[in-house]
Amino acid sequence: MGRLKERGTVAGLKTYKWLEHRLGLMKPMADAAAHPTPSNNASWWYVFGSAATVLLMLQVVTGILLALVYSPTPNEAWTSLNVLNHNIALGWYLRALHGWGSDFMIAIVLIHMVQVFLFGSFKFPRELTWIVGIGLLLMTLGMAFTGQVMRFDQDAYWGLGIGASISSRIPIIGASLVHMILGGPIIGRATLSRFFTLHVFVIPGLLLAGVGVHVWMVLRHGVSDWPMPGRLVRKSTYEREYHELTAKTGIPFVPDAAWKDALFAAAILFAVMACAFFFGPFGPGGQPDPTIIQTAPKPDFAFLWIYAVLAFLPPSLETPVLLVAPVLGIAGMLLLPLVASEGERHWARRPVAVLMVSVIAVSLGIFTRLGTYTPWSPVMNAWASDPVPPKYLHDRTPLEREGALVLQDKQCRNCHSLDGAGGLRGPALDSVATRLTEDQIVRQVLQGGGNMPAYGNALNPSETKALVSFLMTLRSNDLAPAVDESRGLVHASELHVPKSPAAVSSGQTP
């Protein structure tokens, strides 16, 4: 038995030597894996880059498997996704893995970027590593957007329309760009084909090459040491200090530091698998038929914040912001390591960096949250589905009740809520009469303003009269009605009788 084992070892060693003599890669790779790294960076904070790479591998494998069935043409794509979901064994699980893997990958890439930023690891000599990393971030987002198009449903169709509409705002080349993106005059076969090409060939190729360069530079410069307050990065001394630190405290990256990477990668993969198993695949939603207009298109999670920002920009700022902000943002990220290549690395000594991350994270969070329930969108069926609360109809005159009917009929509820039900585009009307006088309500209804359309053409005088008399009853908990102080003053000056405004308002009975 012992002899057999010995023979086996000898044979294995011989095979290795034969292979390595011809390949010449295994020893250099093993050496690279075991390179010494400062012991202070063997931290749980340093595991996100490798986890992102592992997720990329998962995406490549699941993507290839999905491509075995997926059909990238508009008349078959949606059906082939449903076939994957329902007719192919485990097809749903592959779709779920790919979809959840994409969400996890974006999250991990962002966390990795924030960690590198807060640790000041982008500074000399790792500037180019950061710049390539920005490229990898943009390509990851590019994969997410093109991937959303691959799930060729209503959201994908109208998402393409939104993309084309944004591109159309670019001066001079707008029209050409729209045709370039769509591959023709309309969203169709050519559009899906080119997004398939981008998603499956172009971006993954660039992404893998970029990861290769990124990892190469990590190996070349070493994983950044743990930042210490007061230990400044100087181009003249940093590399010597780093090598001294490595010589003094160095541990082999594999296995002494990499076990944390490996463990975290396994945990992340397990999390993706669990989400895929328990929550299943994303969509596809409704079929991509542009004549089905009963739809409220929404982008995937990673782009919800952009969708929200686009709702809040005033019309006159929309195009400038859309065209200038991304350029400035990306240029800022690319130039960051060149501008701040030296100096303090520790977050405790970089308050602006911490503030920036906090503000950006909170803003993205808020906009994403808003994007999940889109308060700016009219609720298209509220007028027919959300009744006027009965408490607003008790003890009302026939005219006032008629006004409640007008309120429903004229679809006011699509934008205005009563008792929490209805749209959020305009203010809730529960206490409108405490904010506006009768005259002001009439004016607001007929002329609009402040983002409300004018209803002068949609209401006849009797409808207006009824509507306004109903609205005048809406003073939650019988608060005092709104009073136009200036009317009192006008009245007073007409009569030449000085009268204090307080006396005027107290004269009004609720």
Partner: protein, 211 residues
């Protein structure tokens, strides 16, 4: 890498005597440079048709795209009403499937006068819906609103709805359809300058109703 290909100043040739430098300019080095130049030339000639192929969709002029298409009998549209009409895009090609279908809103203003609106919101292209009671088109994406004549009512759009050119041929309503309408590709739509509408200001609100 051959030492002859180093950049000036980096080359180890710089240390050589003039005779050595002359010797370094060998026939092979010259031929290599010629071959590299030849590759650049061939590459350029090769690239032209490839780029031309890639830019194919761009080179077509917007006004050439599209054609007139009948979307129904005039008598199908009652005066004063706005109706949704589906048609197959005249510029659709093979394999477009359902995406070849287009919807538009047809408003019959009077016996001979129509307005045909694109379904796409002028903001970011989402499909607008018509609400006949409030006489508004509402967009589900960002809440853009338009009046019955297509003009901007409120929300993020900076202009009114895109309109198709139309004509009445016999008893059928014919529109000119081509490009998907966006701010830049309105060629198949009614010529209408892009007007930047000022957001609602306090001034417009202060024109009092009582006035």
């Amino acid at each position: 890498m051959s030492e002859f290909l180093n950049y000036p100043g980096e080359s180890s040739n710089d240390d050589l005597q003039p005779e050595g430098k002359a010797a370094a300019h060998t026939r092979r080095a010259f031929l290599f440079k010629v071959a590299v130049g030849l590759n650049a030339l061939v590459g350029a000639v090769l690239a032209v048709p490839l780029i031309g192929y890639l830019l194919g969709p761009v080179t077509k002029r917007g006004s050439d795209v599209g054609s007139w298409i009948s979307i129904g009998a005039v008598s199908d549209f009652p005066v004063g009403e706005t109706r949704l009409v589906d048609f197959k895009s005249p510029v659709a090609s093979f394999g477009d499937g359902e995406t070849a279908k287009v919807a538009c809103w047809v408003r019959r203003v009077s016996a001979q006068q129509f307005q045909v609106f694109a379904i796409n919101c002028a903001h970011l292209g989402c499909p607008v819906r018509w609400f006949s009671e409030s006489k508004l088109f509402l967009c589900p994406c960002h809440g853009g609103a338009y009046y019955e004549d297509g003009s901007r009512a409120s929300g993020p759009p900076e202009r009114g709805l895109f309109e198709y050119k139309y004509k009445i041929a016999g008893n059928s309503l014919v529109i000119h359809s081509g490009d998907m309408p966006t701010l830049a590709t309105q060629a198949s739509c009614k010529e209408k300058p892009l007007v930047q509408i000022e957001p609602a200001t306090g001034e417009t609100r202060s024109t009092t109703w009582e006035g």
